[in-house]
Every structure is written in C-alpha cells, then in structure tokens.
Amino acid sequence: MLGIVIDDSRAMRRILRKFLEELGFDVLEAGHGREALEVLDGADAVPELALIDWNMPEMNGLEFVVEVRKRPEWRNITLVMVTTESEHSQIVKALASGAHEYVIKPFTKDGMLDKLALLGLVPVGVLS
C-alpha cells in the first residue's frame, strides 16, 4: 500500500510516516498542498491514503482536498484530515469537500489506528 503524508511540520511528517510504515505502507511526503499535488502527479502509483494537515503555507489541506476531488484518476485516494482544527463547521466543510475522515491533534496511535481500520486501511492481523 502507498500513502502520502502532507504536513508543513517535518516532525509531524516523521511521526505519521513511522506510523504508516508500521502498518506496511510505503510513504510519500509533502510540506503543503501544492507540493503534494506535484508529488502525486510524479508518483508511479496512486496512493490509497493521504493524511492531510489543514493549516499549511502555499496551499492548505482543504484546498488540496478540493483539487484532488477534481481529478478522476485520484478518486480512490482515501483522504484523512489530521489537524488541530476542531470547529464543527470546519469538520463539516472538509467532509463536504471530499475528505473521508477527520483526526484531531493530538491523536493517539490507537485512535488513529481505529480510524484507519474503519476505512479498511489496516492490514488483517494488526488489530488482533
């Protein structure tokens, strides 16, 4: 499986990369939405999962979600917002724009695992 982590914090990207690698993902990274679009355009395969911060320079996470949803070839990417933005209206806006799930920082490893399991993105055996 292939995933992409999009966050302007390198520390957060490292944490999320490690988490996904432990689940068996190969992981791409980008520091903001525009860079993520470039990474996706240049990737050999379409990721199954994108973990997306909201507040980033250049292009924020919501704008990235909107751009991804314009591209039919990326329709199978599961989009998960991972952000400190926790206002109800923002969660609704993200989901209405095409995000599948919403994780609020700080998250626990188990909490993130549960969210991905519900999305069918955790390999059999990891949760047992």
Partner: protein, 152 residues
C-alpha cells in the same frame, strides 16, 4: 462579540497534559505546575488566534528543553538535531497547544502558522495574559501562556 468565558489555568493544564502525553510520551516524566512559570526560557513559539477572540498561545523553554522535544519527535539524539528541527518541533508543539485552546473558544476563528523566535518573551502589544501553566518534562521547564487582546 465578547467572549464571556475564557480558558483558565486548569484548562491549560489539561491541554498541556494531553499534548505531552500524546506527542512526547510524557506520562511518566511530566509534572504540571498550574499557574506557575519559569524565567530561564531562551526560545519561544507562538500561534495567533483571530476571530470572535483574538489572542496568542505561547510556549517557551530553554534551548536544551527544545532539543529534547526535537529529539523525541524526530527520534534522534538531542545533540544531533539541527536548529531547523528544533524550530520545527517547538513550532508544532505551539500549533497543537494553540489548536486545542482554540477549540475551547467560540467559533469561528482561525489560527496562524507558528512563529518560533530565539527570545524568552515574544511581545504582543495590546494583549494581556489570561492564564499560564508550567510543564516540567524530563526535568526541563516549559511555560505555556494564553494572551488575549485587550479589545476582546
């Protein structure tokens, strides 16, 4: 709009504990000193909040403490983390603390990207301190403060 109920030091204690435990595996090495502060800080990181409430959440600490944060987040020895990694880690800490403070305020509001500075105190003219807490983690003190615009 006027905000009637601002977060308190107890709220800040809870947010700080949650963030340290989740991000920095701080459960066994964490002590919260509600309402206190330490004056040895050398670095500070802040995020601004604008909306129904205008203010700043600021975290400050010594350079050694910030290296410990970067070391934990990047899983590297403290003496091997770069200045950029220290800034990135402290900025993300401010971002997560600020996001959780913002969640206690009336919507809508927006939060800035973090600013990290080599200074004990970032100055925000026209603001006053609402509450603060001090976290001791691995023996290092971290100040966390909420400042609010006097116009609120």
């Amino acid at each position: 709009m006027t905000v009637d109920v601002l977060p308190t030091a107890v709220d800040l204690d809870g947010i700080a504990e949650q963030v340290w435990v989740a991000f920095l595996d701080g459960g066994n090495e964490l002590v919260i000193h509600s309402g206190q502060s330490d004056d040895s800080s050398e670095l500070s990181a802040s995020v601004g909040i604008v909306g129904t409430y205008d203010g700043h959440v600021v975290v400050s600490c010594t350079e050694a403490a910030s290296r410990d944060v970067a070391s934990a987040l990047f899983a590297m020895p403290a003496d091997e983390v770069t200045e950029d990694e220290v800034g990135d880690a402290l900025g993300e800490l401010a971002n997560v603390l600020g996001g959780n403070v913002k969640s206690m305020l009336p919507a809508p509001s927006t939060m800035s990207l973090p600013i990290v500075a080599k200074t004990q105190h970032q100055h925000f003219p026209g603001t006053t301190e609402v509450c603060r807490t001090m976290v001791t983690w691995r023996g290092n003190p971290f100040n966390v403060a909420l400042l609010v615009s006097r116009n609120n």
